[in-house]
Every structure is written in structure tokens, then in C-alpha cells.
């Protein structure tokens, strides 16, 4: 299953890599499947988001720990909910790592960004269609450290003690801070725009129901 224990967690064999991708895909599918039928618009929106944010992550790879995906996950969680936010996070982690390098850490990145999306869904970053920059910035700072911590867990194996792990975390603090600063920049420059394109448009069925309820007509 695992080829060896490396410096960044177990090295995956090709079979294990395939199993890992299947698990991640299944997770994303389960998170997206819901009793409510999604419109083609929703599906296209999600696909476009996943593709574009993955591409952005790949393009920004040379910049150390500048992670546009974190703010994207926050806002997708805030606007589309925790389930779709987590699905978005899993798919972005998987797709971008196809290009940047797949491995054990993909699981932790997927979990990390999914957790960010859950935070976004519960932090009231957008209220009544109004983007709250201050709350988003605070969440962006906190989730930068949270994500980096979760991904750091990938280094733990049988030979890595608690003290070693604490030192590893301490050594990473400058990069965690840079992650947080980058998140703030994304939040203030693109947050409002990104939140607006994610805003759910009412379906025709919803509009009909609203009108009928307004006029006291039984459906």
C-alpha cells in the first residue's frame, strides 16, 4: 500500500494513489448529491469555479504559501453552504494536485480546505446579500493558520514525536503569516466580487411560490 515512510508522510504506491482519488471523488459526489435537483446553471457554476480556482492555484504556485483557494473556500461555503463548499474544496485539491503533485498530503489539503468551507458557512460572511469585509478578513486570518495546521498533520508518522511536530509548526509560522496576509489581499480585492457571483439566483419555482404566497393563493 505505502511504498515507504518519507519526510512528508507515507509515499503512495500507484494503486494507493488511485484509491485515494476514488475516495476523494466519491466524497465530493456524496457531498453534492442532495434530494433537491440542481439546475444546469448550478452544475456549470460549480464546474467553472473548480476549474478556475484550481488553475489560479497552479499559476500562483511559485509564490510561497499564497493560497487563493482558502478565501475561495470561505466564500463558497458562505454562499453555497457547507456541503457544496466542502465538495468544492475536495475537487480543487484533487484537480490542482494532478498538476502540482499528488500524494498523501492531498487528503490533508482536502480536509483543510473543506474545514475552511465549513467555517465560511457558519461565519455569516454574507448577510442579506451584503458582503462583510471585516468578518471575512478575520476568518481569512484564522483559517490560514487552521489550514496550515491541518496540512502539517500529514508529516506525522511513527518516527515523528510531539516535540518534533511542535518545532515543525513553529518553523512554519513565517509562512503561515504570509498565507494570512495573502488571504486578506484576496478578500479585500476580490471577496465582494466573488461573493456576488456565488449569490444564489432564485429559481423559477421559488419565484412562483413567493408570488403565490404573496397573494394568498394555495398551490
Amino acid at each position: 500500500m505505502f511504498q515507504a515512510l518519507g519526510t512528508h508522510g507515507p509515499e503512495l504506491s500507484p494503486t494507493m494513489g488511485l484509491v485515494l482519488d476514488l475516495i476523494l471523488l466519491s466524497t465530493a459526489f456524496l457531498l453534492l448529491s442532495a434530494p433537491k435537483r440542481r439546475s444546469i446553471h448550478d452544475v456549470m457554476l460549480m464546474a467553472t469555479l473548480v476549474l478556475s480556482v484550481s488553475l489560479l492555484r497552479v499559476v500562483m504556485q511559485p509564490l510561497p504559501n499564497i493560497q487563493p483557494v482558502t478565501v475561495a473556500c470561505l466564500l463558497v461555503g458562505a454562499q453555497l453552504g457547507a456541503r457544496r463548499g466542502a465538495a468544492f474544496a475536495v475537487m480543487v485539491a484533487m484537480l490542482s494536485n494532478f498538476i502540482m503533485g499528488d500524494g498523501w498530503w492531498t487528503i490533508f489539503q482536502a480536509i483543510g480546505w473543506a474545514s475552511v468551507a465549513v467555517v465560511g458557512a457558519n461565519a455569516t460572511l454574507v448577510l442579506d446579500g451584503v458582503y462583510n469585509l471585516r468578518r471575512t478578513c478575520i476568518a481569512a486570518i484564522g483559517t490560514a493558520f487552521m489550514f496550515d495546521f491541518i496540512v502539517s498533520l500529514s508529516i506525522i508518522d511513527g518516527t515523528f514525536g510531539v516535540v518534533d511536530f511542535m518545532l515543525y509548526l513553529l518553523n512554519g509560522i513565517p509562512f503561515d503569516v504570509l498565507h494570512a496576509v495573502g488571504n486578506i489581499a484576496f478578500a479585500v480585492w476580490f471577496g465582494a466580487w466573488f461573493a456576488s457571483i456565488l449569490e444564489e439566483q432564485p429559481t423559477r419555482e421559488t419565484l412562483d411560490t413567493t408570488v403565490m404566497e404573496g397573494y394568498g393563493i394555495d398551490a
Binding site: L5, T7, L63, T159, L167, P174, F175, V181
Partner: protein, 571 residues
């Protein structure tokens, strides 16, 4: 209350790094052209080339596994080799600075112009500068190595710091006039102060030896003393290299007591004094001290240098950066006493420890830079040699650097304008961009410093170098040792001296053991990929039993460091 003026001042202050970034342009390229260069082969140049009477003397040192041995050579100013000789008994680490003594006479006789050379096997030679012929010699005792520090000339005496003491030789014939034992030394240069010879040792003891050989000592207890003590108006300036950083001690030479101590960074360089000003450097910074009344640090600039510092043109100083990219630091002391640092690339860039040699004549000025690759580059002032050289770097435009500076100004300027317009949301936008750019520019340096600090915090202060392997040669004690665990087999090499970083020492050990090393550059330093073609899951290393959080090329060593390389999967 309108807080905008306050915020505007804060923004202006934040612009200072941008100004500093643009101030890195150096006038060196406008003044000097590369005149000639000479490649000495598989050797290092670890002490400054020395000019005298229109001739230049260059000494080289070598690693134990190298193909070429150490030598001393003489050139004329046009680059023609006049003479060259080696020492077959050298232990190869020859880095004692050369010294020229002008002709004179004294109580023990008369002497002509002489070039004085101290060798690593303990041999002291006086040679005729014009043709290199031997005038006299004296053999001092070598213990693993012999002479590695700077010498002095006092009246009719040549004062030489030997491995285990100090010897004063008659300048006329090399006869011993005084000899005294002190502690074991390394780069333990000697100073002549008020009729005494002052030098330090590897145990951190400062020694004062009188003309007649009476010895006084003071244990500074701060680490190794690896430079000639400097006399300043406030006292003797002595640097110590400790396990967790350096210390400057100001010593009263009459009572031999410490009057002040100042903290400095790790692995201090060899300081230089001009009047009451002392220029020093270490792995953290270049430091300026004012020692007119009481010695104190007046300014500092981030830098990494662990070797010699040289006085050059226009009252400036130059020193090598101990890394492969930065090149050389050129220091000017401004009229307000502050330190102005620019950097220069000369071709002799990367891991050097020798300062440049400088020579000024009415016809022009010369600067000679020795590299760790065994090449000396001699630059001449533009007024003498005005024709442009091929590939003039002044015409090159660094788009990346200029683009970043432009973005810094744009983002901060935008923030200031939006602040004045009371558009705080837009101000935050521009300022966040500025913060990201600054963060990207400094994160590598900050991360390295941070990792070293974390390592220091996590490691209790100790001089323990880790367990001693019984298989090691006893003569390796007190020297630098490297071990490799390859395919479960441990191979070791020891007896090394003077290597400043783990990577330098590793390369020397690989050369001696015949191990092929493969490495590749990364953003955080050179990364060792394989030994003898074995890549495994990567390679890790420890120094004195501890795993550093930095690349091996950034890990400073002391004289008895033990480096161990092992496969990552063995951790």
C-alpha cells in the same frame, strides 16, 4: 480627531524599505573594470591578496582531497606571473595573511624588503618579494596544524602566533628572540599593544605576552577567539565565538579585566578598526561600533559574513557574503556615522572568506578579489582602464527588481492617495497588496532567521558535540568531522578545520572519501539529492546531534562540529 496625518506618516515610514531597495545600486561598476583574472585550479583563496611595490601576492589553501596544493604566487599589475612556490609539507589549510616588511635595521641586524609567510605545517619563511628566494626560515611546532593567524612586525621583531603560543623572531635572520606557550589557536592573529603581544585561543582565553616572554591571561569564557585583538581608545576589542552567538568584550589592557560586554551574532568575522570605529560582521549583520569613550554599537545592516573585512578605496570597507548569490558588501560610513551598505558582484562571489586586496597608485586603483573556486579577479579603476569590457553589466536592466519596486511604490502611493480621499476601503486594498509584496520579498530571509532562533530555543546551551565514535581517529578530536550512512554503512572523515557551513564541510569530506554528491539549488538553499547515486526518500543531516531547520549551506559550523548525513527513511 483627524488621524489621517498620523496614518500618512506611518505610510511614509513603510516606504523606507522601498527606498532602501532602490538604493542597492553601487558606484563600484562605474569606477572599476575587470582587468585580468588568474585561475589557480582546485584550491581556495581564503586570505586577501596583498599588493606591494607594483606587485601582487596571492596565497591559496586547499582541501585534503584536492588535486592542487597550497601556494604563494606573485604577479605584476598586468597579470603576468612572476614566481610561485608551494610547501610540500603543508597540511593544506593555509590561510594566515601574508605580511610584507620593509627593509630596515635594528638591534639584531639589518634586513631587506621581505615577504613573511606562515604555513599550516608551522613553517615561517621570509622571502625576497622580487624573486621569491628564501632569506630565512623558522620551524614552529604544529599540532594538527600550525600557523593560521595574522602576524605583526614590531621594530626588529617578526611576531608570529603559532599553533600553541607566540614567537618573536629577529627580522634579520629569523633567530628566536622570545617564545611563549599559550592555548591552542585557530586564526589566532596577534596584536602588539603597549609592549605586549596579545592573542586569543580556542578556549576563549586572552593572552598577553611581554617582550621577555612573561605571560598573563584572562579567561573571557564566551567562546573561541579567532582574530587579532584590536586596540581602541575604550580598550581592547575582543570577539568571542560562542555556541549560541558571539560576544564582544572590551578589555582593560593594564589590569586585564573586562569593562564591558556586547552581544553580537554567531560566527563573527575578523573585525577591523579605524581610529575609534570598529567594523565587524557575523552571520546576522554587519555592525559598526564607536569605541571612542565607551564601546557601543552605532549601526547595523543585515548581512552574513564570517571571514576577513578589508579597507578599500575612498575609506570604504569590503567583505564577502557567505552565500552564493549576494556577492560582496561595500560599506561606507556616512557623515552622520551611519553604515551605508551596497552590494557588488565581482565574479569571485560565493562562500568566500577573504577580503579584497586594495592598492592605490597615482595612475589608478586596484582591487583583487579571491574566490572560493581558486580564481583571483583583479579590477582596475576606470580612469586607468577606460575601455568598456564585454558584457558591461551596467547596461543590464533588471526587469523583475524594477517591476517589484514599481509595484511597491504604486501600492503604497495608492494607499496614501486613498487615505487622503478618506476612502478607507480602497486604502486597505492597496495596503494589502503592499503587505503581500513585502512579505514575499522577506519571507525567505525571515524564515531562515526564525528557524535558527527556534533551533536555539529548542536546544539547551551546551558545548557537547555529540557522541564520540570509537572508530574515529583520536587526532580528529577538536576538529570538524563528517559521517555518512549510505546503504547502512557508516563512512567518516575528520580532521577538517575552517569550514564555515555544513555544505562546505560535506563537499570537502565527499572529496576525501571519494563519495559522489548530487545536489540542486532551491529557493531555500542547496538541497542534497543523492550520495553515490543513492537518492532514497531524501537525505537529512544533523550537526552535533541536532537537526537544523535550514539548508546545509546555511548552517554555520564551529571548529569541532560533527555533521552526520543519513537517509530520510532512517529517521
Amino acid at each position: 480627531m483627524d488621524r489621517r496625518p498620523l496614518l500618512l506618516v506611518a505610510l511614509v515610514v513603510l516606504m523606507l524599505p522601498s527606498f532602501e531597495a532602490t538604493a542597492q545600486q553601487s558606484a563600484f561598476d562605474d569606477e572599476f573594470n575587470l582587468g585580468w583574472e588568474h585561475n589557480f585550479g582546485d584550491v581556495y583563496i581564503t586570505t586577501a591578496p596583498l599588493f606591494h611595490d607594483d606587485a601582487m601576492f596571492v596565497r591559496t589553501s586547499a582541501s585534503w582531497g584536492g588535486n592542487d596544493g597550497p601556494s604563494v604566487s606573485s604577479f605584476n599589475l598586468e597579470g603576468d606571473l612572476l614566481w610561485s612556490f608551494g610547501n610540500p609539507n603543508s597540511t593544506r589549510h593555509d590561510m594566515a595573511p601574508l605580511m610584507v616588511v620593509d627593509a630596515g635595521n635594528g638591534a639584531c641586524g639589518s634586513w631587506p624588503n621581505m615577504l613573511i609567510i606562515g604555513w599550516s605545517d608551522g613553517l615561517i619563511e621570509a622571502r625576497e618579494p622580487a624573486d621569491g628566494s628564501v632569506l630565512w626560515t623558522h620551524q614552529s611546532k604544529a599540532i594538527t596544524w600550525g600557523i593560521s593567524g595574522s602576524m605583526e612586525h614590531e621594530n626588529d621583531r617578526i611576531v608570529v602566533p603559532t599553533r600553541s603560543g607566540v614567537v618573536a623572531l629577529c627580522a634579520s635572520n629569523g633567530a628566536v628572540e622570545m617564545e611563549a606557550s599559550t592555548g591552542l589557536g585557530w586564526r589566532n592573529g596577534v596584536s602588539v599593544v603597549e609592549g605586549e603581544y596579545l592573542l586569543g585561543d580556542e578556549d576563549g582565553v586572552l593572552w598577553a605576552v611581554s617582550h621577555s616572554g612573561e605571560v598573563r591571561s584572562l579567561d573571557l569564557q564566551n567562546g573561541k577567539i579567532r582574530h587579532a585583538p584590536l586596540l581602541t581608545p575604550s580598550g581592547l576589542f575582543v570577539q568571542s565565538q560562542g555556541a549560541n552567538g558571539g560576544t564582544v568584550s572590551i578589555v582593560n589592557t593594564t589590569t586585564l579585566t573586562v569593562s564591558a560586554r556586547l552581544p553580537i551574532g554567531p560566527s563573527p568575522a575578523i573585525p577591523i578598526a579605524v581610529g575609534s570605529t570598529v567594523v565587524s560582521a557575523d552571520s546576522e549583520a554587519i555592525r559598526l561600533f564607536d569605541c571612542a569613550i565607551e564601546c557601543y554599537q552605532t549601526d547595523r545592516a543585515p548581512f552574513r559574513s564570517n571571514g576577513e573585512i578589508g579597507a578599500v578605496h575612498h575609506g570604504q570597507f569590503m567583505l564577502p557574503y557567505n552565500d552564493e548569490t549576494i556577492g560582496w558588501g561595500l560599506i561606507r560610513i556616512a557623515s552622520n556615522g551611519s553604515l551605508v551598505l551596497t552590494t557588488v558582484n565581482t565574479g569571485a562571489d560565493g562562500y568566500g572568506t577573504s577580503s579584497p586586496g586594495y592598492y592605490g597608485t597615482s595612475e589608478g586603483e586596484y582591487l583583487a578579489f579571491g574566490s572560493d573556486d581558486g580564481v583571483v579577479f583583479v579590477f582596475t579603476s576606470a580612469s586607468k582602464d577606460a575601455q568598456p569590457i564585454a558584457g558591461d553589466e551596467r547596461l543590464e536592466f533588471d526587469w523583475m527588481a524594477q517591476g517589484i519596486v514599481f509595484l511597491l511604490f504604486l501600492s503604497l502611493g495608492g494607499a496614501a492617495i486613498q487615505l487622503l480621499r478618506k476612502n478607507h476601503a480602497s486604502m486597505v486594498k492597496f495596503f494589502s497588496l503592499y503587505a503581500v509584496l513585502i512579505g514575499l520579498l522577506i519571507v525567505d530571509g525571515v524564515a531562515l532567521q526564525w528557524a535558527e532562533m527556534v533551533e536555539d530555543l529548542s536546544t539547551p546551551p551546551s558545548d557537547d558535540d555529540g557522541p564520540w565514535d570509537p572508530a574515529w581517529d583520536e587526532s580528529w578530536r577538536g576538529t570538524q568531522i563528517v559521517s555518512f550512512t549510505i546503504d547502512g554503512e557508516v563512512r567518516s572523515a575528520g580532521g577538517f578545520e575552517g569550514y564555515d557551513t555544513a555544505l562546505e564541510l560535506t563537499l570537502a569530506a565527499c572529496e576525501q572519501l571519494g563519495i559522489e554528491i548530487t545536489s540542486e539549488p532551491t529557493g531555500l538553499g542547496e538541497y542534497v539529492v543523492a550520495f553515490d547515486g543513492e537518492e532514497g526518500e531524501g537525505w537529512e543531516y544533523s550537526v552535533d546531534g541536532r537537526e537544523p531547520g535550514v539548508s546545509s549551506e546555511s548552517k554555520p559550523l564551529d571548529a569541532s562540529s560533527r555533521v552526520h548525513w543519513y537517509p530520510a527513511e532512517a529517521r
